[in-house]
């Protein structure tokens, strides 16, 4: 990490290419490795301050969880009928964010999109940490969390197995699979880079640790062959995985019979929404990070351009979902469905629905403009808006459908408490602690993939030159 005392060279942005010109295999390797290969004691102040702040939030999180386990989930604002509140809203929000990482790593690999190479490592890391933050929620939101192991199918002295028709049970399998596969996929991708770090680091401790972690990778052609196959297979598996995981999350709602939950468009709509906020979070993280670490040459404006387009596309699908719900309410001739929309438009929580429309539908329309897509402050603001908007979407789906359902006698309201907030904000502590550790010790860009890109483009130019010469 460059010391903040050093004068930063003026930034020249690249707009039309995925790589700033004039880079070589060695230069990109050095650039990325040098960010982390130096003594722990010389860690810059900025990182330390960030880490302490994240650590404090993590303490808040642990305090909230300790209170939760000892006193009970009544410290949250949930009640009957709104038995799910911040716990599930934030669970879905965090998982949704995670999906962008897998999409960038896996789906774009299958589509051979080169622009994924600079961002996929950090995006995958973001996925894993987001899934960790998300996965804690189903475990803590139960009334008796010490019995959560009953979700797992094991031969029990009770003679009982889990009930497999329940979407929550599907979640158990989906999220554990997703976490496992994400970690494995991420680790497999890391192995060649860990080998690079092993070979470049000078500290004996670092060398040993990176050496053990890289499993002895030496870049053998036979190994690369199998490695490519494995990566492709994992990508091919992760693609339906990410679609299935968020579809299964959507089934938590779609399988229920509540108006506002029992909606068939949910699986694709949720997946699109996950891509939407996931990319937004990637952008929110990437904009400051590339600045702080001088990575403008590897993460260029073209990357942001393409990411914004993906966001816009997924945002339009989400918008279609919103209009769809309004249409179904009218078309269904069901007073319950109809009232759902009336409640969203005019009920006591209408402010949240209109905020949702503002943040998710209206503000991101600026992304149609190429100029604004490549204006980083605007893009940052729009991405934050999308993250907030997607939070509101989960709020609207969960709280507005639960608080007013079939029998008007059970209509009530939901007010989040201090602990609802502290648990949520504290989870950011966990996320950033992990993320800061990641950027300190692990290359945040996939070195070998960027090398590959450099290699491809230089080979390509060389060919062009050759053919050009030949022609001339």
């Amino acid at each position: 990490m460059q010391s903040s005392k050093q004068l930063k060279p003026p930034v020249t942005e690249t707009y039309d290419s995925l790589l700033a010109p004039g880079q070589s295999l060695n230069s990109v390797t050095a650039k990325i490795s040098d960010i982390i290969l130096f003594p722990v004691l010389k860690t810059p102040l900025g990182w330390i301050i960030g880490f302490v702040a994240a650590g404090l939030l993590l303490m808040l999180y642990l305090y909230s969880l300790a209170t939760l386990f000892t006193v009970g989930i009544g410290i949250w604002g949930i009640n009957i009928p709104v038995a799910w509140g911040f716990d599930i809203i934030n669970f879905v929000w965090w998982i949704g964010i995670g999906h962008a990482g897998t999409l960038i790593s896996a789906i774009l690999l299958l589509f051979r999109q080169d622009w994924r190479t600079s961002i996929n490592r950090a995006a995958e890391a973001m996925t894993i940490f987001a899934v960790a933050c998300a996965g804690i929620y189903p475990l803590i939101h139960t009334g008796r969390p010490w019995l959560d192991y009953w979700f797992l199918p094991y031969p029990s002295t009770l003679g009982m197995w889990p009930q497999f028709r329940s979407p929550l049970e599907w979640d158990v399998f989906a999220i554990s699979t997703y976490a496992t596969v994400s970690v494995l996929f991420w680790f497999v991708g890391l192995v060649p880079d860990l080998a690079t770090l092993r070979d470049r680091s000078t500290s004996p401790i670092a060398k040993t640790l990176y050496g053990l972690a890289s499993l002895g990778w030496r870049g053998a052609a036979k190994h690369w062959q199998r490695y490519e196959v494995a990566s492709l297979l994992l990508a091919g598996l992760s693609t339906p995985l990410v679609l299935s995981v968020h579809s299964i999350i959507s089934f938590d709602f779609a399988v229920a019979q509540l108006p506002g939950w029992h909606v068939t468009v949910f699986p694709p709509y949720f997946v699109a929404g996950a891509v939407y906020c996931g990319f937004a979070m990637v952008i929110v993280l990437m904009i400051p990070i590339r600045r702080w670490f001088g990575l403008e040459g590897l993460i260029t404006m073209k990357h942001f351009d393409v990411m914004s387009k993906v966001m816009l596309a997924s945002g339009m699908i989400v918008t279609y979902g919103y209009f769809g719900e309004i249409f179904y309410a009218w078309y269904s001739s069901s007073i319950y469905e109809y009232y759902l929309i009336v409640n969203r438009f005019t009920g006591p929580y209408a402010w949240s629905y209109w905020s949702l429309i503002l943040f998710n539908v209206l503000i991101p329309q600026v992304l149609w403009s190429k100029k604004l897509r490549q204006n980083l402050p605007v893009l940052f603001f729009v991405s934050m808006a999308i993250n907030v908007g997607m939070w509101f979407e989960r709020w609207v789906i969960i709280v507005l459908s639960l608080h007013r359902d079939f029998l008007p006698s059970s209509w009530a309201s939901y007010t989040p408490t201090f602990y609802d907030w502290s648990t949520y904000i504290g989870s950011f502590g966990l996320f950033f602690v992990l993320f800061l550790l990641f950027i300190r010790f692990i290359p945040m860009i996939a070195i070998f993939e960027v090398r590959d890109l450099v290699h491809k483009t230089t080979a390509h130019t060389a060919e062009h030159e050759d053919s050009g010469h030949a022609g001339a």
């Binding site: 009640n79 009928p81 038995a83 939101h141 329940s166 229920a256 319950y336 079939f406 006698s409």
Partner: protein
């Protein structure tokens, strides 16, 4: 029937009996498709009022002129018809016409809060209609003539005159519940020795020199008389927990017999009363103890005739606000204020808990410029108290209704400081209502906890509470093409044709929302109370609740009450979403909640369209206090934090019945299993039984045309069904129908 400020299904010694009889006459059968018709005039909606076919909201002070009008209409000599407003006139006209058409088969009744003169006039009306001896029976008085507050006032005067040196108070919290214009507290200070006897050390015992701890009625020997004179022996269930003394023992001690115990006293009395001795008496005594009542002890009916004429009772009602005092429906006079169950059972109509309020109609609220939870200062006869406002549709305008029994300062841990003390406003000359109330707004607000925030049916009548007039039900105009279409299922149904299959039917024509089922269920199933703060969040634990809806216009709405508990759906939406199979269906049709398997994801509650499931968000059950451990039903699991619970169709009673039947090598008979709610319901609205037995009462009721299940389109196939509410409005009176 015409009820003039009479909540006869709920208040008074006759309430339970009248509830049952009234409900019986509301039920129609194929053989007897006839219903009674009820006109009710009252200042605020009451249980009886919600059952009425024609309900008129009228101030308590104007009941008298209404009665005069009816008296004049049916021809009571000497009473002139007063002028009434249009609505009241029309109502009276219709009532009078119906009464005259049903002379000898009608009844006019007025409530305990009305004056003696009013009662006399009502008797005269019944007399004019020829009801005496037919629908109105007389017996010798059962209770000793009460002196009421006249006696209390006289006592205080005597004390102030220095005439009393020893005062023994038993079970009378006169410092707390005396009307505001009688200063009992300073009077007591003037008595040399005050001896207090009661269950609690309360406001009155504070100034007493001696306190004798009383025995609870369930720990005591004694006797009593029902309203019809039937004598019963009060038998204790346990020996006094805290060595309390009954009133019998205290009085005996005062007469010099300090070693008497209640049992001997009672037995000795009845020996004399029955006039038998030796073995014959012992045998008779055992029979009485077994039966509970003394055979043939009901009073004989006597006849009465009216001599002379009755004067009109109405005095011109003054304009301005009137205040109406009512005993709280669960706390009564306040002696039960320390009882958590009674504090938490939702008040009828308002569904408030843990508080009383100054109830006003929507129009009056607007006139006063207040909204619900605004705090106002109520001033009456120079006395003031602060109270929060609550709005009650269907209440008479310019009436403020307050409930007694709150604002106690020395009730105990549970009851202290709950609500405001309406006794301070009460005057000894206007115990139940008075005019000249002043209401002043303050800037404060006060959070009121209610278990039901929303009381509008939102156009969902057909799925939740369909009503029909009797005429329409018996002669449907056209078949409306509306044959209930069968919902096609994608999978084969379970075979429920064998064995016992439990089901329940609730008759909405009989339920008046008295809450007996709610408390009975709480007692039977070890349901905890959660306190006001938790009810504010929305976490009350009652397994059965009475849903109250207002329908029609806010000034004279129809008021619907529905008991709702777990429906035990055959297609239970809760069962499929539980990830650990903590809620499953047993082979007798019950939706079983397996507490020890529940992990607490709460998905089942989210998927329940009836929202009958309750969750232990905290450790609500007090697992420490020894006396509470004694209280609990040992046949029912006590739930811990983090576990979902709900109505079980009293599965412990089903199992007990099964064990008894097995032991006797027979089948479970109809009526052997009685759920707690069914057992407590005074009007027999709830019927439970085996739907596979065609002769069971529940099966016969379910076969009726009038059966409906709630939220039918969801195809949950609930085992609990209802009988739709039929109303019997006067076809010529198009003004107001229920």
């Amino acid at each position: 029937m015409v009820a003039l400020d009479s909540d006869f299904t709920h208040s008074g010694a006759t309430a339970i009996r009248y509830s049952r009889d009234f409900a019986d006459k509301r039920r129609i059968t194929a053989a007897k498709p006839k219903m009674n018709r009820l006109y009710a005039a009252e200042p605020t909606p009451s249980h009886t009022g919600t059952m009425a076919d024609h309900r008129l909201a009228v101030r308590a002070a104007e009941i008298a002129s209404l009665t005069d009008a009816i008296a004049a209409g049916v021809g009571v000599a000497g009473v002139a018809a007063p002028t009434l407003d249009e609505k009241a006139s029309a109502w009276v006209k219709a009532a009078v016409a119906d009464l005259k058409a049903n002379a000898g088969k009608s009844i006019v009744i007025t409530g305990e809060t009305q004056s003696a003169a009013q009662h006399a006039l009502v008797l005269a009306i019944n007399n004019a209609l020829g009801n005496l001896g037919k629908t109105v029976t007389f017996t010798a008085p059962v209770a000793p003539a009460a002196t009421g507050n006249a006696g209390l006032k006289a006592l205080v005067d005597e004390i102030n005159a220095g005439a009393v040196s020893l005062l023994v108070i038993s079970d009378a919290n006169i410092v707390y519940n005396a009307p505001g214009d009688i200063d009992v507290k300073s009077a007591l200070a003037k008595v040399a020795t005050v001896v207090h006897h009661g269950l609690y050390a309360d406001e009155t015992s504070e100034g007493a020199a001696w306190h004798i701890n009383g025995a609870h009625y369930l720990e005591s020997w004694g006797d009593s008389r029902a309203f019809d004179g039937t004598a019963a022996i009060q038998q204790p269930l346990i020996a006094p927990l805290y060595e309390g003394k009954t009133l019998l023992e205290v009085v005996a001690a005062l007469s010099g017999n300090t070693s008497a115990n209640g049992h001997d006293l009672v037995k000795a009395y009845w020996k004399t009363a029955l006039g038998t001795d030796g073995y014959a008496f012992d045998k008779e005594w055992q029979i009485i103890l077994h039966d509970g009542t003394v055979k043939a002890s009901a009073s004989a009916s006597s006849s009465a005739t009216l001599t002379g004429t009755i004067a009109a009772t109405a005095t011109p009602a003054s304009e301005g606000l009137e205040i109406v005092f009512r005993a709280d429906s669960s706390l009564r006079d306040g002696s039960a204020a320390n009882n958590g169950w009674l504090q938490e059972v939702p008040k009828p109509i308002t569904k408030l808990v843990w508080d009383n309020a100054a109830q006003v109609s929507p129009a009056t609220a607007k006139t006063l410029g207040v909204v619900a939870t605004d705090v106002v200062e109520l001033s009456f006869q120079g006395r003031t108290v602060k109270a929060p406002i609550w709005i009650v549709p269907g209440q008479a305008d310019n009436t403020v209704v307050v409930h007694l029994g709150f604002g106690r300062t020395k009730a105990g841990k549970v009851g202290d400081g709950v609500g405001f003390n309406a006794y301070t406003l009460r005057g000894s000359d206007s115990l139940w209502h008075g005019t000249g109330l002043e209401v002043k707004k303050t800037t404060e607000t006060y959070k009121l906890a209610t278990t039901q925030e929303h009381t509008n049916l939102e156009g969902r009548d057909e799925d939740i509470y369909p009503t029909k007039t009797l005429a329409d039900f018996l002669h449907p105009e056209h078949h409306e093409g509306h044959k209930k279409h069968e919902i096609i299922s994608l999978f084969p149904e379970y075979d429920y044709s064998k064995g016992y299959q439990w089901g329940m039917q609730i008759d909405l024509n009989a339920c008046n929302g008295c809450n007996a089922c709610v408390v009975a269920c709480q007692a039977e199933n070890n349901i905890p109370i959660v306190g006001k703060e938790q009810v504010l969040v929305g976490r009350e634990m009652h397994w059965i609740r009475i849903d109250t809806y207002f329908s029609g216009d806010a000034e004279s709405p129809s008021i619907y009450q529905i008991p709702v508990a777990c429906m035990h759906c055959e297609h239970a939406p809760c069962e499929i979403v539980c990830p650990v199979a903590a809620t499953v269906h047993d082979d007798e049709g019950l939706n079983s909640m397996v507490y020890n398997r529940c992990v607490g994801t709460k998905y089942c509650s989210n998927n329940c369209p009836y929202k009958v499931r309750r969750f232990n968000f905290f450790q609500y059950v007090d697992e420490e206090t020894p006396s509470l451990k004694l209280q609990r039903n040992p046949d029912v699991t006590v739930r811990v934090r983090g576990v979902m619970e709900k109505c079980t169709y009293c599965v412990q009673r089903i199992n007990e019945a099964r064990i008894d039947a097995d032991r006797e090598r027979r089948e479970i008979t109809d009526g052997q299993v009685v759920s707690a709610c069914q057992q407590a319901c005074p009007s027999q609205a709830i019927v439970f039984g085996n739907i596979n037995d065609a002769s069971a009462r529940v099966s016969q009721l379910k076969a009726l045309e009038s059966k409906f299940t709630m939220l039918d389109p969801l195809n949950t196939k609930p085992r609990t069904s209802y009988m739709i509410r039929l109303t019997n409005p006067n076809p010529e009176f198009s003004g107001k129908t229920e």
